[in-house]
């Protein structure tokens, strides 16, 4: 082997891309399969779900004690990437299950799942990137797929409007991100996080200004993708207009990918710029927490409310970023995992609920749910209390770990602020419980009877209670996942 010279640099650990290859090949194959064989039946959906599961197993099986690197550092495969990929698979898989019934009346059903696979592929690349080029490729693959998915119900005006807004603002943010990257590249001469970090530490004079500018644009661009205020403007519209399973997908998976990138950048790129990024992020966190939790109160549409609630959660997760410590980062992973479970459960209930053919949209639609379907009502109640951070449910520990890390890192006042807003936020979560339990039923319910979706509700509800009582295992897994990073 040693004597063979390749005419091009051959990847040293191509095998580490196996999950990506599986997803990419299956996504392209599904396009053809759907046209020629299954012809828009649900088989495509099941194949897509299967692909997600297989990719998950492949990722898990490939995991070794040491981080693997492919393409000369362009692609890393460490415990951190494995954990975040599994979260992304879980989010995508569950969103696909939620789509089974929801999208059954749509034409072109095949493309829908293929687009989800491509979005997932983009995120897989993102979380494995060690380099702005790989990151940007993954990010754009994800973003373009999601733009189309948001607009999937192309006969619905609201969906079109949402997608247009999302696309324009998304393109703008990509521009800002690239602009920021060019500044940093200009100073450091490299795209690789770690190398840039070393070079940037010595920037002085004009170069230091350029670094600062680059940092601001970088944070703005990435902040857009994870709905940090004030770059969250697209969130409520896109959430409302998108097909509901896509809303579920968007509220979790891109957030995971986005925060993973944030953490990688902070660890590799920014030790030297700690003061600067902390100042910027503190301001953003203060704004994000307030806007998310206050604006959610005014919402009547549950998807819009959950959009603002996501913004609020992103603000809380930022406490972990601000801490900048291993505890903070593993706290982010804990938060994202628990948030994934809660969100998928909530959206599963929303999709299962229909009134006179219209699926649950407004908060009023939940009135009297507890009398008709006590099981769904209990699950929804648990998710809401969990999101509000009330103990014996997972959501409490999610907040606990990031706040704890932030207190340890000395951000006591910020945590106090966040905690007070979490009490404010409890108001709108409680309002959902109010509709479910305290109000009388007005219009007849008309539920979807779908075993896989009902199973999703059940599993997520049980998981959220279990994590509330015994969170230790999750803490441990998240700590280990961080091993590759810090």
């Amino acid at each position: 082997m040693a004597n063979v010279t390749f005419p091009f640099p051959f990847p040293d650990h191509l095998i580490t891309l196996l999950p990506e290859m599986i997803v990419a090949i299956m996504a392209m194959a599904l396009l053809l399969i759907d046209v020629f064989i299954t012809k828009g039946s649900k088989v495509t959906a099941y194949l897509a779900i299967l692909t997600t599961i297989v990719a998950g197993f492949a990722t898990y099986a490939l995991q070794g004690p040491e981080p693997l690197v492919a393409f000369y550092g362009f692609f890393v495969f460490d415990a951190f990437a494995v954990f975040s990929k599994i979260l992304i698979f879980a989010a995508t898989g569950m969103a696909m299950i939620l789509s089974l019934e929801y999208m059954k009346d749509e034409k072109h059903i095949g493309e829908y799942y293929v687009l989800m696979l491509f979005a997932m592929l983009g995120m897989m690349l993102m979380v494995s990137s060690n380099n702005f080029i790989t990151m940007y490729l993954g990010l754009e693959l994800m973003a373009l797929s999601v733009y189309v998915l948001v607009a999937y119900q192309r006969d619905v005006l609201r969906s079109n409007e949402a997608a247009l807004k999302y696309f324009i603002l998304g393109a703008l943010s990509s521009g800002m991100l690239l602009y920021g990257i060019t500044f940093l590249y200009g100073v450091s001469g490299s795209f690789e996080f770690a190398v840039m970090g070393e070079k940037l530490a010595h920037a002085e004079g004009n170069a230091a200004t350029a670094v600062m500018l680059g940092l601001v644009f970088l944070i703005a661009g990435l902040g857009f993708k994870v709905s940090m205020a004030p770059f969250h403007m697209w969130t409520p519209d896109a959430y409302e207009g998108a097909p509901t399973p896509i809303t579920a997908f968007m509220s979790v998976a891109p957030k995971v990918a986005g925060f993973v990138i944030f953490m990688r950048i902070i660890v590799d790129l920014l030790p030297s710029l700690q003061h600067e990024y902390q100042t910027i992020l503190t301001g953003i966190a203060v704004l994000t927490i307030a806007i998310g939790n206050l604006a959610a109160i005014a919402q009547r549409n549950i998807k819009r409310m959950l959009a603002y609630s996501t913004v609020g959660h992103v603000g809380f997760i930022m406490m972990g970023l601000l801490a900048g410590t291993p505890e903070g980062f593993s706290g982010i992973l804990v938060y994202l995992s628990i948030y994934l479970v809660m969100t998928m459960g909530v959206f599963a209930v929303i999709i299962l609920m229909r009134r006179e053919g219209i699926q649950g949209e407004l908060l009023d639609d939940f009135a009297g749910l507890s009398k008709v379907r006590p099981g769904y009502a209990l699950a929804m109640g648990l998710f809401m209390f969990s999101m509000a951070g009330i103990p014996f449910l997972g959501g409490f520990w999610a907040k606990y770990v990031v706040f704890m890390a932030a207190v340890e890192a000395g951000h006591l006042y910020l945590v106090l602020y966040a905690l007070l807003f979490s009490a404010v936020g409890a108001f709108y979560y409680l309002r959902v419980v109010k509709y479910i339990y305290f109000d009388e039923e007005r219009v007849a319910f008309n539920f979807i009877e779908s075993k896989p979706m009902q199973a999703t509700v059940f599993v997520t509800a049980v998981t959220i209670v279990f994590l509330g009582l015994f969170p230790e295992a999750l803490f441990e897994v998240c700590r280990q996942a961080l091993g590759g990073l810090v």
């Binding site: 507890s370 006590p374 209390f385 009330i390 103990p391 014996f392 409490f396 706040f403 704890m404 207190v407 340890e408 006591l412 945590v415 106090l416 905690l419 007070l420 979490s422 009490a423 409890a426 108001f427 409680l430 309002r431 419980v433 109010k434 339990y437 305290f438 969170p471 230790e472 803490f475 441990e476 700590r479």
Partner: protein, 522 residues
């Protein structure tokens, strides 16, 4: 960690989780409203019996925590499942398990819709309440403390009156906002005291004055909302008015005690210097509660609101006694809490009995009830007399001890003699007689004028049944409080020793030792 458990049996865990397990079984397997009622009664009685050994086998000669249990829970943050009771917390556990039985019996016929959910909510509530009173780990305490908001929210919100949604939301958000401050104080203490959440370790750790003051303020807000103290009391009349009868009973009987218990368990022993420092402030708020709220109570036209305000006034006595740091005052405060658990609970049940018949709580809608309900009138008179602390009733013991303790108290930071405080507080004896007896006169005495009242039937045997144990307990504690005081003596003595020993010298030593310790470390 060794087990100081005389029974060598996790009796506290059983007390906490038996109601929860019962609720689970009822939820899954019991069908039919009557079956649910009987099953819940069986569970609550069993839970009550399980807690009795705590009292019977209690060692009155030690201030140590008893019936201790320990298991690692979340080792990442050194959070442990640590339980234990002393003479201050044990009575509240018994009171909780006892009042839960009363609540379930009292709801027998008045709750007609969603009986199953109602009973489950009460059993879950019992679990969280006993959990609060037996936790020795601060996070475990917080866990139960917050979790009880969920069943209480549902109880008021589903089975409450017209404005229940407003009342329940106000209750939830007030108490939640209060407790998040406690959480932040606990997190801060965790790092300061060397990464532990053990409440006993917090009691031993010498926090310096600045720390103590901030911690005290955070605790104060959390506990004052729960007590509730003026001016954060406004959620209570709303919650009481809208809650179903049993909800009011548990609210007045137990929930209000959690705040005062928090002062005794957290503020006094953990931050003694700050507690002393804030005595004038606490005294002022307590006196406002006693005097001003009594006048507010007089103006009420709704019976439940009146009793709710009366509760706030009585809790003013409790906070006053707590911050006097004398044996008599602190014991009086605890006795006052327990007594209020009997008396206020019974008064709410009285209102409930009338409400079941006429579906109104307005004082003006009644009058001359004695003519149609003589037995009821006697029962209500008994508890009205107990409420104004007539000698022979339990409330008298509590109040007189608080007053005596206040007279002899000599807190470091008080400018005025506490004699004047005691005199001001004594005015409540007159004031509480005014509002209680005036209400009694307007509701029960007089001629029968209203037709609706004429149709009222006297109490059934079941209704009478749940008043009997409350009466007996009120009398027992009123005439022969010694068994109760015996349980308190050593623990309160220990508490006062903790609360009057300054931590500042030790803190100063610690600060001086810091550079040395650092040097050794590196």
């Amino acid at each position: 960690m060794e087990l100081h458990n005389v029974l060598d049996f996790p009796i506290l865990s059983l007390s906490i989780f038996l109601p929860l397990a019962g609720a689970l079984v009822i939820w899954l397997f019991v069908k039919g409203d009557d079956a649910v009622r009987w099953a819940s009664l069986a569970v609550s009685v069993a839970a009550f019996i399980v807690t009795l050994p705590l009292a019977l086998m209690f060692d009155k000669t030690t201030a140590h925590m008893q019936f201790e249990e320990f298991a690692p829970w979340i080792s990442t943050f050194n959070i442990n499942y640590q339980l234990g009771v002393d003479g201050i917390s044990m009575p509240f556990i018994i009171l909780t398990s006892f009042l839960t039985v009363v609540c379930i019996v009292s709801a027998w016929r008045c709750i007609q819709n969603r009986v199953k959910e109602y009973m489950i909510a009460f059993l879950v509530l019992e679990t969280t309440l006993i959990g609060v009173f037996s936790s020795l780990d601060a996070v475990l305490f917080y866990f139960f403390w917050e979790a009880l908001l969920i069943p209480m929210y549902l109880i008021i919100g589903i089975w409450g009156g017209k404005n229940r949604v407003y009342a329940t939301l106000k209750f939830f958000l007030y108490t939640l906002a209060g407790s998040v401050l406690m959480l932040i104080a606990l997190l801060a203490m965790y790092f300061e005291a060397g990464k532990t959440f053990s409440m006993l370790a917090f009691m031993d750790y010498p926090f310096n004055l600045e720390w103590q003051i901030w911690i005290f303020i955070a605790f104060f807000i959390a506990f004052a909302v729960k007590v509730p103290m003026w001016p954060v009391h406004t959620w209570l009349p709303d919650a009481h008015t809208e809650a179903p009868t049993a909800g009011s009973v548990i609210l007045a009987g137990i929930l209000l005690k959690m705040g005062a218990y928090g002062f005794l368990r957290f503020s006094l022993p953990m931050v003694p210097d700050a507690s002393q420092y804030f005595v004038p402030f606490m005294v002022a708020l307590s006196l406002v509660a006693i005097v001003y709220i009594s006048f507010v109570a007089m103006m009420q036209t709704d019976m439940k609101r009146l009793i709710a305000y009366s509760s706030i006034a009585h809790m003013g006595f409790v906070t006053l006694g707590t911050f006097m740091f004398t044996q008599a005052a602190v014991e009086g405060a605890v006795i006052g809490m327990i007594s209020h658990g009997f008396v206020a609970a019974a008064l709410f049940l009285c209102v409930g009995v009338m409400y079941d018949r006429l579906h109104t709580r307005e004082i003006g809608d009644y009058g001359g009830v004695v003519n149609v309900m003589p037995v009821f009138a006697a029962v209500m008179l008994f508890f009205c007399m107990a409420n104004i602390a007539l000698p022979g009733a339990s409330a008298f013991v509590g109040e007189i001890m608080v007053l005596i303790g206040t007279f002899e108290a000599n807190p470091v930071y008080m400018d005025v003699s506490t004699k004047w405080v005691a005199i001001a507080a004594t005015s409540s004896v007159v004031l509480s007689a005014c509002y209680t007896l005036w209400m009694y006169k307007r509701v029960v005495m007089g001629d029968l004028v209203k037709d609706s009242v004429k149709s009222m039937k006297d109490m059934t045997a079941r209704e009478f049944g749940f008043f009997v144990p409350l009466m007996l307990l009120t009398l027992w504690m009123g005439f022969y409080p010694l068994p109760f005081l015996d349980i308190l003596h050593v623990s309160v003595e220990h508490l006062i020793a903790q609360a009057t020993t300054s931590k500042l010298d030790a803190a100063a030593v610690l600060v001086q030792a810091m550079p040395v310790l650092d040097a050794v470390h590196h």
